[in-house]
Symmetry: C2
Subunit: 260 residues, 2 copies
């Protein structure tokens, strides 16, 4: 594995941080997610992201832990973000560090999640009467409001404007970028014998106001099925107690991150 290739801005500050042990650069925690922590570093323009083994599902009602998930996910997301950077998508990813840590750009995260669905699965299938794995006449893009208190309710672009969560231009940009990323990711996973069923994206504003892809792209945020066996290689194995959960993450890690 050779880290750092494809990263858009390997500034002297980043090179300096990469050479140091995690404990020397890790500052205060500025964000606690369900499966990730974000820390300040000694550089103002660089954050440190830690991927945890914690796993949650059903709006946090189900909680658990998946052995080594943090390490697998960090490397999987690093590989995919590097690929997207190379394809011209602005992502927060800077450098993979040891184990489960990465350097990322600081972003002011939008309180909006984008979900793209290529096949019917999960809540979409239940809500609209599809069977799991049904093909769709066309892929679907959905917005959700990131609010634990409200249970991440659905949004359309009118709700986003009514709540003033982002501008009209940003909504157009979110949709356009997410569709481009979907096309790139479908091809990327297909090359690794994985079908991208659906996935979630989160964006933030960089210091200059530009929208930048943040968060992670991993089996926690994507449904990924083996192209031949249709085996699920994602968090659905944890959600629905299907067994071989760690093995699924490891298998995606093997197909995605080993070649780097």
């Amino acid at each position: 594995m050779t880290d750092g290739i494809g990263s858009p801005e390997r500034t002297p500050e980043i090179v300096d941080l990469v050479g140091k042990p995690i404990n020397e650069i890790k500052g205060e925690i500025i964000h606690k997610g369900k499966a990730k922590l974000v820390y300040r570093t000694t550089e103002e323009s660089v954050m440190l992201m830690e991927f945890m083994d914690d796993a949650t599902a059903f709006d946090g009602k189900k909680k658990g832990s998946i052995s080594s998930k943090g390490m697998y996910n960090s490397h999987i997301s690093a590989a995919i973000m590097r690929y997207l950077n190379q394809c011209g998508i602005n992502t927060h990813f800077l450098e993979q560090m040891e184990d489960r840590f990465q350097l990322v750009r600081p972003l002011d995260m939008l309180p909006v999640e984008v979900v793209i669905r290529n096949l019917a699965a999960g809540s979409l299938a239940r809500r609209l009467g599809f069977d799991e794995g049904d093909s769709l006449e066309r892929p679907i893009l959905e917005f959700y409001f990131k609010s634990d208190e409200l249970g991440d309710p659905w949004l359309n672009r009118y709700h986003i404007r009514a709540l003033d969560l982002c501008s009209d231009d940003e909504i157009v940009r979110l949709e356009e970028d997410s569709w481009r990323i979907n096309a790139m990711l479908r091809e990327y996973f297909l090359d690794r014998d994985l079908e991208l069923i659906d996935f979630k994206l989160e964006y933030g504003r960089a210091a200059d106001g530009a929208l930048v892809l943040g968060d992670e792209i991993t089996p926690d945020t994507c449904r990924l099925w083996d192209i031949s066996s249709r085996d699920k290689l994602d968090k659905d194995r944890f959600r629905h107690d299907m067994g071989e959960v760690e093995e699924a993450y490891q298998e995606v890690y093997r197909r995605v991150a080993w070649e780097d």
Copy 2:
């Protein structure tokens, strides 16, 4: 009350039907809604719609009856559809008949409801954390899938296309027409000291494929508040057991339909 003014197509067939007693023109029932029945007539191009006193709420979980509601709603909807016809909106409305019956054009109804919200109320307020009556940065348009089995789930334009419920052009048309209707209705109700909080529209395809506004516009499908007292003059009085339910429908009837 002078019926028939503003109706776009007073053909000889309609004139003929208008002169006859309901029992002579009423054919088989072709649609049973929760609060309306649609019958064939002796003319293929004209349907008879009956407004019932039945009232339901919360996806049919609450059932009841509101005395004289059918008559009030038929006349209220007739007055408003005539106004919209005059404003250049294609509606299914042809003629108000006696009591609770109207003549309408046959439509192949779309399985999609359009909801427009000018102020926060009801499910929107609950879902997104608004207080009842909160103003919105901008009005909201929502689509819902008319499916009793699925509990009328929310849709965005991608779901509509994925389910192939209508074309891209029709989605654009639904949005544009509904926004135009909102502007017309807000003014119309304001002239009658009523604030239009939110409302539902249903459209269908006429024989020539054109989208035409169908269903009804009444206190069953609109939230209407008195402009000064903020009293609710709509089905929320039935939903939430607020009392003076019939009186609310009668008051809207008085303000809307008497002047016709």
